[in-house]
Point group: D2
Chain length 110, copies 4
């Protein structure tokens, strides 16, 4: 039980960190920088990733076992966002947050 709680706490922290990083970087960095940073698919992925992380955090706080389905989806979306951020370049903090969240979410979804 406490192992479970520790793992969920780590995943919750990773989701909220990735949420803050993606949404904050989109507004504070991508919109200001322009060019490839506002390419529609990249902006959409950043917004979708922020939402996936936020929904995963919400469901872990609610504490229903169905959060594992949400975490499974979140892992895939974080992986896609990390790839988009790598392709755009200069978004290392976002790549790191997405990769960390992907890892924690895969563990919760298993």
């Amino acid at each position: 039980m406490s192992d479970h709680s520790d793992a969920m706490q780590a995943c919750l922290d990773a989701c909220l960190h990735c949420y803050r990083t993606c949404l904050g970087m989109l507004s504070g960095h991508c919109l200001e920088t322009g060019g490839r940073h506002v390419e529609p698919e990249h902006v959409r992925l950043m917004l979708a990733c922020a939402e996936a992380c936020r929904a995963s955090a919400q469901m872990m706080l609610i504490g229903s076992p169905v959060h594992r389905h949400q975490c499974g989806a979140c892992a895939e979306i974080c992986a896609a966002c990390a790839r988009s951020c790598e392709a755009v370049g200069g978004m290392e903090s976002c790549v790191a947050a997405c990769r960390a969240c992907e890892r924690e979410c895969r563990a919760m979804a298993a």
Copy 2:
């Protein structure tokens, strides 16, 4: 392309309808009725289902292809919520909304 848009529109409508039904029934019916309607796992599922539907709607509005991962998770969570509502009883509108949303989300996720 327009077929795709029609299917997404139907799924978006189903998600927002299920979101409204689950959250509205939880507050206006389950909390007032008490007893089995406020059994923790049932309340958690109703809240988790509302959130899953809301996140799916958000991602379809954003329009990133990753919405299919979210819709896949949403289908599973709607199925679980429908079963919980059937077990509690007297929640036909919620069962119907969850089943309809599950069906549309499975089609989007495929």
Copy 3:
């Protein structure tokens, strides 16, 4: 009581319509059009307006009397988004949705 419910239903509908319009137009129109449509303050307002409407809808569905504070904030944010959309131009559906939501939310907040 039923008057109250009718007014809340109208406000809930207006909020969800404005939410869908703002987020859908941002992704499907502004990001594709570029130029003034992706000017940072405009994109931020569109995203903030979608979130304000979404939170107002959530609180009306929850049914707590504190939703009137949220509706009051939403009215101000919708008004600001409508002005930004008018300044950018070619966003009539968004202006109309924001103005309608502003009006319903002011009535709920009063």
Copy 4:
């Protein structure tokens, strides 16, 4: 500018802490304890407060100046939730989180 950013960071932290505390306590404490803890108006306020804090955090991350309207609404809702938690009793962590968030949000709204 850096003072502004420091204040917003403190408010963002307070909002996300209050969000986690209210939603986590509702599910992990109130639903399990029952009795006064699941009285409809209390549950609704806990859910509404979690949503207000979440929307405020979202708008500060987006970075639009309209976040001050959302923070003003959030302060009122946090104050109402703190009073409800005090009346129910045994919810000191929730009262503290709501009071802290109310204070930071009033400063942002000013």
